[in-house]
């Protein structure tokens, strides 16, 4: 199918984009388009107006600033995957990016677009949660910063208000005991289960703090706080890791579909959480 009829406008600045959005409450931002256009082609979504932000200057960057890592919302998955800076100081980000879609998708898709869309099986949300990132959103009323823990609200629903555009992702530098592991759907490549682990490990192999982000399991990505509590202060060995991973889906409404029943997904979540922690515990940039 081809999309339903729509208007197209190209914004040269963020202000222009915000004004265009304000004119039409059903307008959608066009970033990389690799979540939006397929949905439009199936007519699952029929925005009357697309506001293309692809030519706005300085929305695509990866830099260290004020002790933080800051990534522009229009940075592509490939740019993150291939960033030498990130491979050195935040390997979770390039590792997560390398699992997204395929090469063509990674060349066009953007981290901001993916996060704003919040597919329940997307890879970025798990990493963003595990890194305790902050998301900067801009609107006609100014800017605000949303913590990752508050950003993913429900199925395909984020904390972004209508008329808000995600501008930047910020995070503090963590260690390098990080990993992202994923069980991809064999056809679509989406995460049946995806787990991002971000650990602070001391010289005696003790876990001082753990952040675990899980995607594909529920209606949105979530922090596996029960796993984190079990790891905090624990000596990292097979027994403690297995014990912690067993809590991967505690308190979560686990999704079931034709490919994986809720029970199977629960089991997969445990297995992949264990693998993510093990990989993160080995640590160091690859």
């Amino acid at each position: 199918m081809i999309p339903a009829q729509f208007d197209y406008a190209r914004a040269n600045t963020l202000d222009e984009a915000l004004n265009l959005l304000a004119q039409n409450e059903d307008a959608k931002i066009l970033a990389g388009g690799h979540s939006l256009i397929p949905a439009m082609k199936l007519r699952l979504t029929q925005p009357p107006l697309l506001v293309d932000i692809g030519r706005i200057k300085d929305l695509s960057y990866i830099r260290e600033e004020d002790g933080q890592i800051r990534i522009g919302a229009m940075t592509t998955h490939y740019q993150i995957e291939s960033s030498d800076l990130l491979k050195a100081i935040c390997p979770l980000l390039p590792e997560c990016a390398s699992h997204i879609g395929d090469m063509q998708v990674r060349n066009k898709g953007t981290i901001g677009g993916s996060l704003a869309h919040s597919d329940p099986a997307a890879d970025w949300p798990a990493a963003i949660l595990a890194l305790n990132a902050e998301l900067v959103a801009v609107s006609k009323n100014g800017e605000r910063t949303i913590k990752a823990d508050n950003f993913f609200v429900d199925l395909l629903t984020t904390a972004l208000e209508p008329g808000e555009i995600l501008r930047e992702i910020r995070l503090n530098k963590n260690g390098t005991h990080q990993a992202y592991v994923k069980m991809p759907h064999p056809a679509s490549g989406f995460a049946v289960v995806g787990v991002a682990a971000n650990l602070i490990v001391n010289g005696s192999n003790e876990c001082q703090s753990a952040s675990i982000g899980i995607t594909g399991v529920s209606s949105k990505a979530y922090r596996a706080s029960a796993v984190e509590s079990a790891l905090n202060g624990a000596s990292l060995n097979e027994g403690t890791i297995q014990g912690a991973a067993a809590h991967a889906t505690d308190g979560e409404d686990v999704n079931g579909d034709l490919f994986a029943s809720a029970d199977y997904r629960r089991h997969l979540a445990e297995v992949f959480t264990r693998r993510a922690i093990q990989a993160a515990a080995i640590g160091a940039a690859k």
Binding site: A39, R43, L155
Partner: protein
Amino acid sequence: MKIEGIYQIHAPRERVFNAIIDPEVLQRCIPGCESLERTGEDEYAAIMKAGVGPVKGTFKGNVHLREMRPPEHYELSVNGKGGPGFVKGAAIFDLEQVDASTMIKYSGEMQVGGIIAGVGQRMIEAAAKMTAGKFFAGLERELGGWADPQLPISTP
């Protein structure tokens, strides 16, 4: 697919039962329901703008109420068709009074077809739970008057 759960509404059972068979209350509580009109004895025609996030569509359908045993039990069947696909379902509601609250136990079977069932199949269960949650939260706001409606107590 099966949807089941229990929801607590902070209102007495008779009030809750009368509310869930009142088309005006239902129209306010069903997410995206634009109109709900009586077309016969225990039959209603509905127009709903349903959707999750950017995925939206207009569905036209009918709702049929059956086996009414006020204030404890009733059943409904629903049939809707729209751009993204069609929905056919039936659900059973049992109401129990516990102190000053009503526990609504619901159990239903739903069939979804069309485009959403094809490409959207992996999200259907989550979307159904979200819609049911919004409906009961809406009902709680109508009746219970509590600022923070409780989330469903259990959904298998």
